[in-house]
């Protein structure tokens, strides 16, 4: 650490008393989202300047550090995202049986990882991994960090590699856009990030560990509830389709694959079921959005070599 940064850190430390004042002023707002928090810090700092408690330069410094504290999911490091993703995966696999068929799993990971490498987020802490879930529901889940699950029911909506690629690219889109992390309630994140920022010991003590675990548990529950029950917003689903089109284009898959899959899904979805029928905009609505982008490309003309390996791998579905 440079001399300057050390002095800077020390200067911040010496502001302890004044910081305490601002902290108390903003405390009631701590759990109510970034904007309020920023405003509270702003007001608190300004009051402190007016009353002579703080000099303007000191007040600015405090406003900056409080803003840093109230930042949202963007402060989650890829390493932490990895642990969140694992827990989401473990929860989903507590509800769904995995479907292991070596040839299918290998093929799914080949298609998926090839696509992931062409996304805007090819590198995550421990990479992308794909798994089939043993259920007839039409469903897929993307856990933060790149653990992606696709149901047998959804695989049946794919008639060619081009369509399968579209399904996986859509899920990769959710990971790349960090939609899972956005489902975490801001109050939990703020509390967790505050705990992290206060602890210097190598391992967490009882109270901090309990608090972090509580927030972790709540975060996982927020994400799983969104994935399984409530679904993302319609806007987020359309965004994931847009991201999918970009990824497919980069790898050389035609956009028709996405429309083909959505068309097949439309005929297979049963209203009222707790799967894509509940958590996603209708296939028709998604098709309309996709067509705004790519027009009506007509049916997929599957590449012969792709079709051979697709049929081979999908035998067990």
């Amino acid at each position: 650490m440079s001399m300057a940064t050390r002095r800077f850190a020390w200067a911040i430390g010496s502001l302890g008393a004044a910081a305490g004042f601002i902290f108390l002023v903003s405390l009631p707002f701590l759990l109510s989202g970034c904007e309020t928090l920023d405003t509270a810090a702003e007001i608190g700092a300004n009051v402190a300047v007016q009353t002579g408690t703080l000099k303007p330069a000191e007040a600015n410094l405090l406003k900056t550090s409080v803003t840093a504290m109230s930042r949202s999911f963007k402060e989650i490091t890829p390493e932490q995202e990895h642990y969140i993703g694992r827990a989401v995966g473990a929860t989903l696999l507590g509800q769904y049986r995995p479907y292991y068929e070596p040839r299918l799993t290998a093929y799914l990971n080949l298609v998926g990882q090839t696509l992931a490498q062409s996304s805007d987020l090819p590198e995550t802490y421990d990479g992308y991994h794909f798994m089939v879930l043993d259920t007839d529901e039409i469903n897929a889940f993307a856990a933060p960090g790149g653990l992606i699950f696709v149901s047998r029911g959804l695989l049946k909506c794919c008639r060619n590699e081009e369509s399968l690629a579209a399904v996986l690219a859509h899920e990769i889109g959710h990971v790349e856009l960090r939609h899972g992390l956005m489902a975490i309630q801001n109050a939990r994140l703020t509390e967790a990030l505050t705990t992290i920022g206060m602890e210097t010991a190598k391992t967490y003590g009882g109270e901090q560990l309990a608090s972090l675990t509580r927030n972790f548990e709540g975060s996982i529950s927020d994400i799983v509830k969104t994935l399984v029950v409530n679904g993302y917003s319609q806007g987020q689903e359309f965004e994931a389709d847009q991201a999918a089109l970009v990824i497919l284009g980069r790898v050389g898959y035609p956009p028709a694959g996405l429309l083909d899959m959505l068309g097949e899904m439309k005929s297979r979805l049963k209203p009222g079921r707790l799967d894509f029928a509940k958590t996603h905009p209708s296939p028709e609505a998604r098709m309309v959005e996709v067509q705004k982008q790519v027009g009506r490309p007509g049916p997929v003309r599957s590449h012969p070599a792709r079709q051979v390996r697709f049929d081979e791998a999908m035998k067990s579905v």
Binding site: M1, S2, A4, T5, R6, R7, F8, A9, A11, I12, S14, L15, G52, T53, K55, E58, S65, A68, E75, T77, P78, E79, Y83, I84, R86, A87, G89, A90, T91, L93, G94, Q95, P98, A106, Q113, Q117, S118, D120, L121, P122, E123, D126, G127, H129, F130, L147, E161, A192, I196, G197, T200, Y204, T213, F216, E217, S219, V251, G252, H303, A305
Partner: protein, 165 residues
């Protein structure tokens, strides 16, 4: 006393600005993935020439689209990494009190192993019964080799994967 503090803060800010400017030529990045693969060419199909560890610091000596040619600080260029494997924050493996203070105050430091970590995962597992971590571990072990992917891409006449164009 208060006036003295203000002067000190102003001084610290000026010093910080100077230090930042000086450091601009040698900006440090940190590897933010578990295994940072460094490749001979700016492409995922490029041969892996080195593997860096989480939190390793590197400097960027050349940019090509979403790829960065990296070197160890003061070392020769090693090869290419995708920009998504790098963080502009300094990742600290064993954080001391000052690192924690800096992380909270400036946002320029990230603390490795802090927050949602293995310890929290273990505590979470102990509290929840209906979790299947065994299959998550199994899932994470599925790795596609560059050779397998190259064959897959060629056979299917797909474009070479290279990340953001």
């Amino acid at each position: 006393m208060v006036r003295g503090k203000a002067v000190l803060v102003a001084l610290a800010l000026i010093l910080l600005a100077a230090a930042t400017a000086w450091a601009a030529g040698q900006k440090l990045w940190s590897v933010q993935v578990k295994q940072g693969q460094v490749r001979a060419t700016p492409s995922f199909l490029g041969r892996v020439v080195a593997t860096l560890s989480y939190a390793d610091p590197v400097t960027v000596v050349e940019e090509k689209e979403a790829w960065r040619r990296v070197a160890r600080p003061q070392g020769p260029a090693l090869g290419w990494m995708h920009v998504s494997a790098l963080s502009s924050k300094r990742i600290v493996l064993r954080a001391g009190a000052e690192d924690v203070k800096q992380a909270a105050a400036t946002g320029e430091v990230a603390l490795a192993g802090k927050g949602f970590n293995k310890q929290v995962e273990d505590a979470y597992r102990a509290r929840n019964r209906n979790l299947d971590y065994a299959d998550v571990d199994r899932m994470e072990q599925w790795v596609v080799s560059p050779e397998q992917m190259e064959r897959f891409v060629k056979e299917g006449e797909l474009a070479e994967a290279g990340g953001r164009p």
